[in-house]
Symmetry: C2
Subunit: 386 residues, 2 copies
């Protein structure tokens, strides 16, 4: 990597090595404020999902704003992010016995961890592990709302209660957790509000099923960025979660919960060639820098591998990264567009808004942080791995 | 990350944190040997593309086997891999003036660098930069064989000669370079041999055009793993390149240049749930561990996000990662298959063969290296970035 530390004058985008990831700090704060208003208005605790940013800086900002709760998708996120004011972690990927010891090693007075469970066998293993080791790992039952992955269906009372009882033998049952993954397929605000209400209703039903069986259910946690921002009421729910809201992305814009201008993160790239024959500009950001996420493919506006902007962030309407190779992005007008490819010479900087912030950010090891004048004021490391 | 160094007994796959990347060392050597035989049989110099492995260990193996030449797709690859016996680097992504200084900073007696150029304006800038700085950066003209990205068409004599003359003013013109990217779309060995012959013929034509104009053209470089292994003769070519051959992957198997059993790299994952209702096994390897590459989507056998194997590498016919979320992979039988989902309990280890080795490997920071007994005998770091 380029060593930027020796430069004294205000750094501009032109000083950065391309491709790289840039972050509009003021927009990040606005996005974070917006979620706080939503959670406060509902009187719900908020648990940010730290898998999107994977950044100590942003974790600290979350602790300052939202308090001690955090959701993670990897154990390395807990290893990296504890000790920053976040003390109450929920690990979202269904646990297996091979990971118990590693969770135990992370426990501390200022680091409580709850894990997700969706089978009675794993619940019993966890109770046995905690009894033998003296560890206090609490657990939530994962609720499956859309049939897409792991979890127990909210109306499957037998399984819910079997897992709940197994966990409760060891005093480990904390509650239930659901994620409305299907909300990502919506773009209509009425359908989105309905989805959010169903998320709340189904999860609350599972919670009531446990309580009716004499089991505790302190935590009733739901959330996704689209449903959290939908404004739907959440009766019977105690906690809201969201992750991608810190940055937003083109998928969220397509769903309708943000505008493209509210996307805080973009990939800075250099134009490296103009292919007159195929009518394309070539940039040095391919799938390695943008990811292969095609989240807008089924939305009303398919934006390929990303929306192209000028260096200053001005959106070039209809100009998208139409195709990617490992280190090459191919910019063309959207199919059917009457707009012409801009005439940008090799060396010109552009910025690409990401389809999916989690995926694009994961291709980079740092955020170059921009102030409101567009100067590079800091770099925030990102971590990766499991 | 898990600290594995304290374990004295032979480590097994069960000792590794999932998901992670495992590498069959003996298969890696067999794959590397195969390419050497091919290049030797043709009497061609071979230049391995180091973007696939991004590993010092594998770079050293390449230097030992193939000599000093190396292809890279990022400057960070030169920063990381020089000094290991590789002294002759070719940077494959069309250069822009903003990167000249960084290339210059990497030059050394044991580190010569050639860059790719496809415009007269950039060629002139490079000559001016070298004259002013005293740097000796040589250049190849990038040839565009398929219209997919950057480069000059091989029959565009005017542009070729204009760039060649501009470079030759500074004594920088080294030759021409082409990449038969379109070979990835083939699966028929006759078509593949024809594609390889066209690659050689077109690139040799561009070289002859320069020579006929009185320009030097020492290097005539072509290659892609499929065409390099196609067995086609390469008249007029001086150098062969390939990258993914070190590992192979499902796309290469679909093209027909390797078998699935020859794929040296896989992602180790844990089964974390069984979704009876949707008929799926859920594993803890999603797109973060597998990548979102869908390279087999248009092949005869669409293998979703990867081919599932047992822990010992036995291929589970028709069992694929049918869908992915960030940290979840959804295993189902291929559509239309009569085979039943195997009954694997949570905690069971599986291995997933990658669609595209470059993409999957790029999601990880190390290779866990397996010996022929399937023991973990080493870990080789990977680097990333630009």
């Amino acid at each position: 990597m380029h060593d930027m530390n020796q430069i004294d004058k205000p750094r501009t985008l032109g000083d950065l090595p391309t491709p790289c990831l840039v972050l509009d700090e003021a927009q990040l704060y606005r996005n974070m404020d917006r979620l706080q208003v939503v959670a406060d208005a509902r009187g719900l605790a908020f648990r940010p999902h730290l898998k999107t940013a994977k950044s100590k800086h942003i974790a600290r900002l979350c602790a300052d704003r939202y308090g001690p709760r955090a959701m993670v998708s990897t154990l390395v996120e807990i290893e990296q992010l504890r000790g920053l004011g976040l003390t109450d972690f929920l690990y979202s990927v269904a646990i297996v016995p091979g990971k118990f010891q590693r969770v135990r090693d992370l426990l501390a007075d200022d680091c409580r961890i709850a894990v997700a469970v969706d089978s009675e066998a794993v619940a019993k293993s966890l109770v046995a592990f905690c009894r033998e080791s003296g560890a206090q790992i609490s657990a939530v039952i994962e609720i499956d709302l859309d049939g897409h992955r792991s979890g127990v269906r909210p109306d499957d009372a037998d399984t819910l209660c079997a897992i709940g009882r197994a966990l409760n033998v060891g005093g480990l049952l904390l509650g239930v957790m659901a994620h409305a993954g299907q909300s990502y397929e919506l773009s209509d605000q009425v359908a989105l509000a309905a989805c959010a209400q169903d998320e709340a209703k189904s999860t609350a039903l599972a919670a009531r099923t446990l309580v009716a069986d004499g089991l505790p259910c302190e935590l009733v946690s739901i959330g996704s960025t689209p449903t959290a921002l939908s404004g739907a009421p959440y009766p019977g729910v105690s906690e809201l979660r969201a992750g991608v809201f810190v940055f937003f992305d083109l998928v969220q814009a397509g769903i309708g919960v943000c505008s493209k201008e509210e996307i805080a993160m973009s990939v800075l790239a250099s134009v490296i060639s103009k292919n007159e024959r195929s009518g394309a500009l070539i940039i040095d950001a391919g799938w390695m820098a943008l990811s292969r996420d095609r989240g807008t493919a089924d939305q009303v506006e398919d934006l390929g591998y990303g929306q192209v902007c000028l260096e200053d962030g001005t959106i070039l309407q209809d100009m998208i990264v139409a195709d990617v190779q490992q280190e090459h992005g191919i910019i063309k007008p959207r199919e059917g567009s009457q707009r012409k490819l801009p005439n940008l010479a090799p060396g010109t900087l552009v910025r690409v808004l990401p389809n999916h912030a989690c995926a694009t950010a994961s291709q980079h090891d740092r955020y170059w942080v921009l102030d409101e004048q567009g100067h590079v004021r800091d770099e925030w490391p990102r971590f990766s791995g499991w």
